[in-house]
Symmetry: C2
Subunit: 354 residues, 2 copies
DNA sequence: ATGAAAGCGCTAACAA
DNA sequence: TTGTTAGCGCTTTCAT
């Protein structure tokens, strides 16, 4: 792409503003970055000139000088068929918004699918970003190691599960607490035999959530033998596991590690003519669109993504200004959104989905 | 945020490479941008030095000089409660990936919710982006006008519906064709009275899609009286409209303007004990996650977003290099994804959703 | 085919 | 309090 188009030629520079205000360029720069240095009337004159001309500092020049791009890098995975990381998308929306408040922008990049490290290094060497936000720490230890090695600042959404000597700031949501909330809710609406439908044992997040179910069941003094199921995160696998549990005849509660799994349970109930919320209770995780629109509405654990974004931006600031971060991690509390899959008289799902 | 951290200090510059290779800085620059000017052995020596040092040109410096940021701006709307623009999220994923192939990145920004123009101007004046991608042209005429006025390059995903003298390149998906496909499919599996469940009349996109249903029905010689419904895009509104249509007793086909509406129809069927795909056929639009996971699987019109992204990047290149774009618009064909809401023996939904 | 000089727009350091 | 000087790292003349 040849850089023929010169958008910038029409825009004013520091010099234009300086001339207009009858001061030097440096004074204009100070008016922007250290206004307290200027005499009041000078400041006003400069600000008036800035406003008249609609001047905004050139980012490239400023970045070249200050070595700060005011840009945060976020690797955006290619949309793989059938995989929709809706939770992450929601998070990105709030992150963009939160960062805008401090004049930062989000730079999306992608890398080779087979190489989780691809992309980071180039951006760093090109000084295109000040820092990174990493979003999948269960699979992403390689990323954090790379960034630590080269001394790049970053904050993760997710705990450093397998890295005891990780020293980077992180924000996470207490998944065990979420599963505990879900389970306690199911118990409170009258279910006793509450099953857990979770991911494979290799998933740290999955095991963490499962521990919350286990804790709630233990606290209620209920035996969990053969109630804890591990399977793949897809609707059909969950549907089949749910059928097995239902064959047992005593299981009426289902706490699930994801909305996908919960929706599989709902499918199984439909197939048996059982009424969700009446004959059985189902709780999902993440409060995704699927939870909103599934019939008759799926109770789900909701992660406070807005709060996560705010915390991350705060940590990013601390890291970039080399302030010590204490404590290193922030663990946030999820909440429960109750719908008809556990309480028949809950409000109808009427959510817009487009 | 004080710019204390100096990430870049550790990275090599043109000068470093020049010294290492025993040439001048300009020669290194030429090796990068005009390799054909160098003698073969010089080129090799320089490239070796670049590789050894892991050199990547500083973006700010290059941008300052060439006035090209290699960045495309995309306004990312705040995630509003209950609104999930899943389609756009999927599009952004593919856009990021496609742009990476030509060395471009996506800069996400947000603006004041009440001001659709907020954000664009600043980015332009700061020369932070080379161009914009605009994604909602039904509501976004103000954006395109602003950008045209200031001479900023941009491409839209969506036709300039209400702007006859728009002169910008665009890419869109033929919604009428999609609705036509949906309707023809419903007719082909035996439904005769196929209703349309669409948005309010004010939606250009909605009316366009509706016209496709109408065309297919006319072609089949079926009367559409009282079969075309307009309502709000939410599950519950659609559910109630579906009940009204079902009360009629003759309607068995439902072509919908969105998956949300289609899911509302599925809910109504459940409530009546009717079997989707057997007693009635339902088709949605956008092939969202909801279509994948809803029970028993929702047939839906799928937009070729990957192709949209590719076309947009192509147009972006043309615009940035001031090449004439002919034709100005590209209208792409949607496809139909068949699931059990129309064909009982279609494969089960087993899609991963996390 | 390669090198020297200039300057993009900005701010840090210093001088006035 | 304001102005001057220098230079961030790169590419674009233009000279050699």
């Amino acid at each position: 792409m040849s850089p023929t188009r010169r958008l910038t030629d029409q825009y004013p520079t520091l010099a234009t503003v300086a001339e207009r205000a009858g001061v030097s360029r440096q004074t204009v720069s100070n008016a922007l970055n250290n206004p307290e240095l200027l005499r009041e009337d000078t400041l006003e004159r400069v600000q008036a000139a800035i406003a008249e001309l609609g001047y905004t500092p050139n980012r490239a020049a400023r970045q070249l000088r200050t070595r700060a791009s005011h840009m945060i890098g976020l690797r955006f995975e290619p949309a793989q068929e059938g995989t929709s990381n809706a939770l992450m998308d929601r998070f990105v929306h709030t992150l963009v918004e939160t960062m805008a408040k401090t004049g930062h922008h989000v730079l999306l990049f992608s890398g080779a699918v087979d190489d989780p490290l691809d992309g980071y290094d180039d951006l760093l060497r090109a000084t295109a970003v000040d820092a990174f936000v990493i979003t999948d720490t269960y699979a992403g230890t390689a990323e954090t190691e790379l960034l630590r090695r080269v001394g790049a600042p970053f904050v993760t959404f997710g705990r450093p599960w397998d890295d005891p000597d990780a020293a980077h700031p992180w924000v996470d949501v207490d998944g065990a607490r979420g599963a505990c909330l879900a389970t306690e809710h199911l118990l409170s609406v009258g279910h006793r035999r509450v099953a857990w439908l979770g991911w494979e044992e290799t998933s740290r997040i999955g095991e963490d959530r499962r521990s919350g179910w286990r804790r709630a069941m233990d606290d209620a003094g209920i035996d969990t033998a053969r109630l804890g199921i591990r399977t793949t995160d897809n609707v059909d696998a969950a549907r089949m596991e749910a059928h097995k549990l239902l064959d047992d005849g005593t299981v009426t509660g289902f706490a699930c590690a994801s909305d996908t799994l919960a929706i599989g349970v709902l499918h199984a109930l439909h197939e048996r003519g059982l009424r969700p919320g009446v004959d059985a209770g189902v709780v999902g995780f993440d409060d995704s669109l699927g939870a909103h629109v599934s019939w008759p509405g799926l109770t789900s654990v909701r992660q406070p993504l807005e709060q996560v974004a705010v915390e991350i931006v705060g940590l990013l600031h601390a890291v970039l200004s080399l302030k010590p971060v204490e404590p290193l991690g922030r663990l946030l509390e999820p909440t429960l959104v109750v719908r008809r899959s556990t309480v028949p008289e809950a409000p109808r799902p009427g959510t817009r989905a487009r």
